[in-house]
Structures are given as structure tokens and as C-alpha cells.
Amino acid sequence: MRSIRDAVNQVHFNRFRFWFQLAAFVLFVYGGYLAIDLGSRLPFFSCGYNQEGRAGVCYLLPLQHQLGRPWPMLFTAAGLSILTGLGIFVLWFIFLNKGWCGFVCPLGTLQDWLTALRRGLGIRYAKYSHGQFKQMTKVKYVLLALTLLIPLGIGGGLWSHDLSPPFCLICPARMILPAFTGDFSQFTIDFSSKTAVVMTALGMMVTALFVVGSFVKKRFFCFICPMSALHYLFSKLALFRLKKDGDKCTRCGDCYRVCDLEIKEIADEVGKRDIMTDDCTLCLKCVASCPEEGALKATFAGITIFESTEAGFVRRMNKGHQP
């Protein structure tokens, strides 16, 4: 038992994560070809516009459709289906918590690949001041609010159906993920109405921004992802968690240094046990790069499955380069 635990704690974490992400990417972008279907309540961007290959659909797509029904319908049995949908989403979510972002989300994985590309080219990542950052991360709550409210407006007849589903229209996954199955039809501007022009143009711009952004900034999109905001509303329920033992922390900042989302609290907070913040993607890189025994750990339903160890740190850091 002990040796298994040691083996896990000393794993070459970045390599493990790379392969895990790759497998998840293949599953959710091409799994449809193998008739895999995990439903349409998934808590990450398995894009529904990827008609052929997807092995399930991102919850935001049906959610926006459901909310976009005519108002009288919202108060019938259909309204109930919104709640059941949310229930299924939460069930998926609590299993991995935000680990869906760090390990499964195809869009997250793509960002990591863009980062790897930049790293391979030897270009440094962008640095911004912490203040600028904190402002930016609030955008995701605004986006979430819009994602929920605009469909309601459409259902109420306030706005055109051309605006539906509003977030999907500007989500870069809509363009990028279908492209992996050879479907480039989303890389277009829709000139059928003004709304469509604006939304598709915005979509293209966001896609371009996504590419440039995640090239120069690790996990750029995750800062503003409304799914991440939706996650955070339920993260208290989740089974998979990130814990910190502040007494063991020397605040050396190693975890903060490797954090893709530059979460300062991970290094500086020593009072709270539950250290996960709303930006966190639970990628567990912080755990892998913490040299203090048991200072950071990932637990599932209270059982520690991966924790920081001195030996693991030395092994990983001596290895240096990631795959």
C-alpha cells in the first residue's frame, strides 16, 4: 500500500497529465465515431457543434436552448427538465470538480498544447500584474450571467433567435473542435442578419484571441470561461478536492510559480484548508511541484490520492523538461 502511494506521489506528473489529457481529448473529440455518447450534460467543452466525433455535449448548449424556450413553456414540464438537466450536470461535476478543466476539457487541453508549442519555440509567456488579473477573472461571471439571461430574453421574444445560443456563438470551441473532425463550416461569417453577422464575427475574433492568448498566456481562456464560473457555484459539493496544510507550508511560492492561472492564494494562504479558488482548474501542478511533505494534497471523498512529497519533487524537478 505504502509503495503504491510512494509510486503515485513520485510520478512524473506532467507526463502523466499530458497522456491523460490526450486520451480525454481523443475520447471527446472522436469518441462519437465509436458510438460513445455520454449525454449532453457534460461539465466541460465537448462541443455540440462537433456533430460527428463528439462523445457527449457540453452542458451550456442544451442549457441555453432550454432557457431559450418560449416563456409559457418554461413554466410547464419543460421547466422541470431544466432542473433535471442541471441535476445531471452537477452529478457529473461533483465527480471531478474542476478537474474536468485541468484534465479533460478539450479546449483546456488545446491551450496546454499551444503553451507547449510556445515553450518549444522558446518564447516566454506573458506577465501581467496581479491587479490587472483580478479584474479580468471577473469577466467569467459576467459571461455566465449573459449566457443564462440572453436565452431567457430570446424565449421572451425580446431578441432574435439569431442570437441563440449566445455563448456558443462566441465560444472558440465551436470553431476549433469541429475542425478536428474535418468540419470547418464554423469558420464563416453568417451574413443572414445583422445579429448573425455580429455574433459570428465576434466568434471569429474570440477564436483568434483564443489562439494568440493561450499562446502567450497559459490557460488564457480559463480566466474568462463561464463554465468555470458555473463550476464554482457547485464546487463545495464536489468529491475531488485540493487541500492545503498551512502549517507545513513555507510559502516558498513554488506552487504559485507553476500555476497556470497565477493563483497567489495557493502559496500565500495558510489559514484555509480548502484552497481551491474560482480560477483553479485542479490541474494539480501545484501539488506536483510542492517540496513539503503533505503540504498540498488532492483528495477524493476524503481519501488522499496524490500529495506533495520531497522525494517526488526532487525526482520531478531533476527530470526537468516535460514531454
Binding site: D247, C252, G253, V258, F313, V314, N318, G320
Partner: protein, 426 residues
């Protein structure tokens, strides 16, 4: 006793510096039984360097550093050799008193005195550059004095807070500028390869140190604090690879000792955590007194040992930019020097060390003149006392004349710990 026999005695062996070094070293080697065999390397090293005045070799340019905040890795990366100039000699302290007020910190004075002295011990070539991190006021002021002696000095700008993100960025900038300065001095550029290699070099040393550090958790102790201080003091000037080899060898011996149930101190010996101003050879007065009085120093929180070697560098992207910033973070964020405003980290660090090393008490050394340590002792004592850990605050300097008084205090402290333990057991 263990000195390799030298046919002719160099003139300066009769110098005060050599004498005080010899006295300290004799105490360290002769007053205790069962010194680890692997320690012989360090005993010999100190004898050769401090008593026989052996010259230290170095590769490339020689870069002197006056504080642990100067990143060694950058120096190694550009093919230069770092040597830490912090000095513990009373002899040099008195020479240094010509530069600084008598009430100022003995360590800074001794460093100045050593640099001013014709026979610098440890005997190195003249440093091509002295990096002086602007930590405390005395070090800040000493940079101009060192420059006045004809050395090239570089002030490595250090923020006085470390909590804020601005301070972090400021320090990262300082370190990056320092890297450029090193390039100017050595003519060599930082590359991914040489920097990565340098980090690996220090990481190895740190891993060895951490292993040694962990051995000190065992009870009864398998190694005494005076030996560990000697080892970490050797890190100041010894070749890093040879140093790592020696520590790894010692670790292997300690593994064996632990398995055999070896006792380096009595089973009931009070376990002491040492904190405050750094003990620098030959001023190991206090740790030696503690262990001579029957205590054992099981851990320390000083910049001549733990703080210098404990915290390791984590790098996410092995690019020069990221590695340099990672190094900067490592040298700032975990540092528990009281010079920083708001320093709760030091309390937490001490409490964690007390808990994980099962320390019974804390000895807090403040070198007279080191105001920040003097100022912080009260809050530290309160924090420790709140957890039921007694603390002995000792204000001292490099002079040997308070040894009698100190030993009384230390013995009384150890006696009170023993009584306390006996009471707790009852």
C-alpha cells in the same frame, strides 16, 4: 588533534584568527564522542582552510556574496564560482570595528574586517565582484565601505516587504538585472543549458541537505547540531560538488547509524531549535555550548544553514526567463529573515520546525547590533510560549568573554526544560 601533521607551521597560524578557529574546532571534535566518520572531511577542510590557511581554488571568475539572497545558480551558470563572505571571526570583527560603530552587527564587521585584512581567511583570490544584497541597513552601508577597499561591488536591490506582488516583481527585476551584470563581468551569457545545469547542481546539494535535515528528526539524535552547522558553513566556500559528495556520504553513514540505533546524544537530551542570527564559523559558541551542556540542536532557522539550503526551486518552463524568475521567487518568498516587514512566516516556520522535529525549546541568538532580530524576539517568544514552547533569548557577539554567563543561562534553560518534561511525564 585531527589536523594533518604539517612540518612547518605557517606564520599566521599563530594569528588570532587561526587560534580562535582552532579552539572552536577542537571543541567540536574533542568534546564529543562518536563523531561520524564522514565528518572527518569537514573537520579536515576547516583545519586546512582556517588554521593552515590553505588557498581555495575556484573556476572562472570569483563572485563574493554577502547574503544568501544572491542566487548562486546564476553565478554557476555563467561559469563563475560563488563564495559567501559572511564571517564569524572575532579577530576580523575587531578589525571591522574601524569601519562600523562598535555596537553594530559582528557579522558585518567581521566581513569588513576580513575583506580589509591582508590575509583573508578563507583564503581566496580577490573576488572579481562582490554581490551585496541590500537586506539590512548594515549591509547596505557596508557596500560603499567595501568599494572603498577597492573591490567591485554590486548592490542587489532587495525589497523590504515580500508579501506584495509588487515586491515580487521588483525583486524579479533585480535578479534579472543581476544576471545581466554577471554577463558583463564574466562575458558569458545565460543559456537554457547552463542555467539548467546550475540549478541541477544546487538542487543536488539541497536534496543532500534536506536528507541530512530529515535525519535530525530522529530521536534519539543521530547527528549533533554543531556538526550540521559546520557542514552548512562549509557550503559558504567549499566546492559545491565535493560538498554534495561529502554530505551524501555522511547521509549514507547516518542511515546506517539510524538502523543501528546509534545515539549521538542522551535519550532525554533536550531537543533545541536554534534560530536568530547565523552562527558562522568560528563563532559556533552558542550551538557548541548548548550541546556541551547536554542539549542537542535538532533544527535551525538561520541563514547560515536551513534558510540557505532548504527551499528548492520549482520551474514550470525550462526557459531562461522562467528559470531566472523561479530562482528569484525561491530567494525571496520563503525567506524568513526578520528584515521584512510583516514576518508571520518566521513564526509559522518555527512552530512547524518545533512540531516536526519535536523540539523542546528554542534558543534565539541575536548578534548585538542586529536590530531586527532583537526587535522580533518578543513576538516570537510570545508565539512560542502560546504553544507551550520555552525560548531562551541570547544577545551576544563574537567575543568569547560571555561564555561563562551564557553557559549558566543555557544550563538553566536546559534544566528547566528537563523539569518541564519530567512534569509532563508525571
Amino acid at each position: 588533534m585531527n589536523a594533518s601533521p604539517t612540518p612547518e607551521v605557517p606564520a599566521f597560524q599563530r594569528s588570532r584568527q587561526a587560534r580562535e578557529s582552532e579552539i572552536t574546532l577542537d571543541h567540536i571534535t574533542d568534546d564529543f564522542d562518536g563523531n561520524p566518520a564522514a565528518m572527518q572531511y569537514f573537520y579536515d577542510l576547516f583545519r586546512r582552510v582556517f588554521i593552515q590557511g590553505e588557498a581555495l581554488p575556484h573556476e572562472g571568475k570569483l563572485i563574493g556574496t554577502t547574503c544568501i539572497q544572491a542566487p548562486d545558480e546564476l553565478i554557476y551558470a555563467v561559469g563563475a564560482t560563488p563564495v559567501r563572505l559572511c564571517n564569524g571571526s572575532y579577530h576580523y570583527d575587531q578589525i571591522g570595528a574601524d569601519f562600523m560603530p562598535a555596537k553594530s552587527c559582528a557579522l558585518v564587521k567581521a566581513t569588513l574586517g576580513m575583506l580589509h585584512s591582508a590575509t583573508r581567511i578563507p583564503k581566496t583570490a580577490r573576488p572579481d565582484l562582490i554581490v551585496n544584497p541590500t537586506t539590512c541597513d548594515q549591509k547596505k552601508k557596508s557596500s560603499a565601505m567595501i568599494e572603498g577597499m577597492g573591490y567591485a561591488v554590486y548592490d542587489l536591490e532587495m525589497p523590504n516587504v515580500k508579501e506584495s506582488e509588487e515586491a515580487r516583481l521588483y525583486w524579479q527585476r533585480s535578479v534579472r538585472q543581476f544576471a545581466h551584470k554577471l554577463r558583463e563581468v564574466t562575458g558569458k551569457k545565460l543559456t537554457r543549458q547552463n542555467l539548467k545545469k546550475a540549478i541541477a547542481k544546487t538542487s543536488r546539494a539541497q536534496a543532500a541537505f534536506r536528507q541530512l535535515h530529515n535525519f535530525r528528526k530522529s530521536s534519539p539524535a543521530v547527528i549533533l547540531g554543531k556538526d550540521v552547522f559546520l557542514i552548512t558553513n562549509a557550503f559558504f566556500f567549499d566546492d559545491i560538488d565535493r560538498w554534495s559528495d561529502a554530505v551524501e556520504k555522511l547521509n549514507a553513514e547516518l542511515t546506517q547509524r539510524q538502523a543501528e540505533g546509534f545515539k549521538a546524544a542522551q535519550r532525554k537530551a533536550p531537543r533545541i531549535l536554534f534560530t536568530g542570527s547565523p552562527p558562522v564559523f568560528p563563532n559556533l559558541k552558542l550551538p557548541v555550548l548548548i550541546e556541551e551542556a547536554g542539549g542537542v540542536v535538532v533544527a535551525d532557522e538561520t541563514c547560515s544553514a536551513n534558510r540557505m539550503l532548504y527551499d528548492m526551486t520549482a520551474v514550470d518552463e525550462w526557459l531562461v526567463n522562467d528559470m531566472v524568475d523561479s530562482l528569484a521567487d525561491k530567494y525571496l518568498k520563503p525567506c524568513t529573515c526578520p528584515i521584512f516587514a510583516r514576518n508571520d512566516d518566521r513564526k509559522r516556520r518555527l512552530l512547524d520546525l518545533v512540531a516536526s522535529f519535536e523540539a523542546d525549546g528554542v534558543v534565539y541568538q541575536a548578534l548585538a547590533g542586529c536590530q531586527v532580530y532583537e526587535m522580533e524576539q518578543k513576538s516570537i517568544a510570545e508565539a512560542l510560549n502560546a504553544q507551550g514552547i520555552p525560548m531562551l533569548y541570547v544577545e551576544t557577539d563574537y567575543s568569547p568573554d560571555d561564555q561563562g554567563q551564557l553557559s549558566t543561562r543555557i544550563e538553566a534553560f536546559l534544566e528547566s526544560i528537563k523539569t518541564r518534561k519530567r512534569k509532563a511525564a508525571a
